[in-house]
């Protein structure tokens, strides 16, 4: 099963401050540990929400709200994608995340990914060729270096 290990944002990350050199080194080592154990599938870090936006839908209308967003604790700072055997294993990996060197609070959230096997095969129609093409075009572009 796959888990997304979500790193919650904090005031520093929302202010666009990069982590300290020692913190970057520590998370680098952590990432290496995940890779060496064969559980790391991917991950990314996110810019502060001041560089992002929200698109809200109501009554069939879309409204754009530019960042930054206030509720820092609810925001996402980045994520890792883990392939593990159980939720407990995902938790054990999360517990190994390096603590902040200045003692600031942090939070990781673990969420299980839906797998294609979770959906019955007839739920996705074979007819939708156009969509299929668009999706694969994206993947193929990525694949060609």
């Amino acid at each position: 099963m796959r888990f997304m290990m979500i790193v919650k944002a904090n005031k520093d990350s929302e202010d666009g401050k990069l982590p300290s050199a020692s913190m970057i080194a520590a998370t680098g080592r952590y990432s290496e540990e995940l890779a060496k154990a064969g559980v790391l599938l991917g991950g990314e870090g996110l810019h502060p929400t001041s560089k992002g936006a929200r698109v809200k839908f109501a009554g069939g209308k879309a409204t754009v709200v530019d960042g930054p967003f206030a509720e820092v604790k609810e925001l996402i700072g980045g994520y890792w994608l883990l392939q593990v055997k159980s939720k407990e294993e995902a938790i054990e990996w999360a517990r190994r995340y390096p603590p902040a060197d200045d003692g600031t609070e942090g939070e990781l959230e673990l969420r299980q990914l839906y797998e294609l096997e979770d959906f019955p095969s007839d739920l996705i129609s074979d007819e939708d060729k156009a969509k299929e093409k668009a999706l694969f075009e994206g993947a193929a572009r990525n694949a060609k270096r």
Binding site: K36, A37, G42, Q83, L116, L135, A143
Partner: protein
Amino acid sequence: MTSDVQRTIAAVWRIEAARLIASLARITRDVGVAEELAQDALVAALEQWPRDGIPDNPGGWLMGAAKHRAIDQLRRGKRVERKHQEIGVGEAERERIVPDLEQAIDESVGDDLLRLVLVACHPVLPEESRVALTLRLLGGLSTDEIARAFLLPEPTVAQRIVRAKRTLSERQVPFEVPRGAELEERLSSVLAVVYLIFNEGYAATAGDDWMRPELCQDAMRLGRVLTNLVPDRPEVHGLSALMELTASRAAARVDSHGAPVVLLEQNRRRWDRLLIQRGLAALEKAEKLGGRGEPYTLQASIAACHARARTAEETDWVRIAALYTALARRLESPVVELNRAVALGLAFGPAVGLRELDENAGEPARADYHLLPTRAATCWPGSVARARRGPRPRAPRP
């Protein structure tokens, strides 16, 4: 509550087992003894953690517990005495080993893991023992989990592991990384074991299920571990690419009624794009390292041709046929010959494919021969009879 703790212990074990055993094996020079010491630490955890709670650093705790036992036993010389007599380590020597132990056990473990996987897949062991030992020592699987994965009675697997450890000890297989040609040979044995595990999961030979995805996952995890242990070997990345690209199609292999769906009829929207991307990236790495003509990399390249095609009709059969031709030069396999013929037929017309099949038909020794005409009929529907009457230049639709 207890079962929660037990699940946590199982998870910690899965994370720590390989490193623990590898570090201990460097000290004891005996994988069997190392594994038993690690097991003892696990038993201690199962006794103490439900009572005292999970320690803050569970990996360190296990290592500490195993370390104590290792020192204890070395001092008493209990389990290793026999071993020491065999290899001529005397009392004085043993005294010298003990102080080194504390320090040595904390050293880096990367090379130890490589040594461990090379020993687990050592050619002195029968293939099924290599599989069991690799899953047990590197994958952190219990004997029971291995037994369930291969639909075998647990005592059978336990026997295999015990015998394998005894063989390694008796034959005094050194816990080291060999050099040059021997390393190549030993690594290829490791890759073969991992691919065997993957295939057993992907095309389950026993039981009613088409696949046993857990086993595929275990193999892919081992593959990723290997890409970090020996990152400069092209075929390690080639194998990883092959497994990820193959597994990307898993969800499309059966329809909603549980019936199998052949590759060209699969709903490609059910292919896992994350695995495809990872597979293509691994393939690129393998090719950059010079693996282009090597068997796993070639097979991954073929899988990549399918992964890149948005629809079955867009499949690059000319390239696939060329890749199968290159593969046939490296692997003597009726299945490869068959697939090559099918690809040639799809690339250049059924007549070309059938000519290949007829050439193969001249070799009755090929065990899978009976499959050939059936497969041809499946792959080029309606075209076989026509092609028998004479060549048709037009490529058929798959």
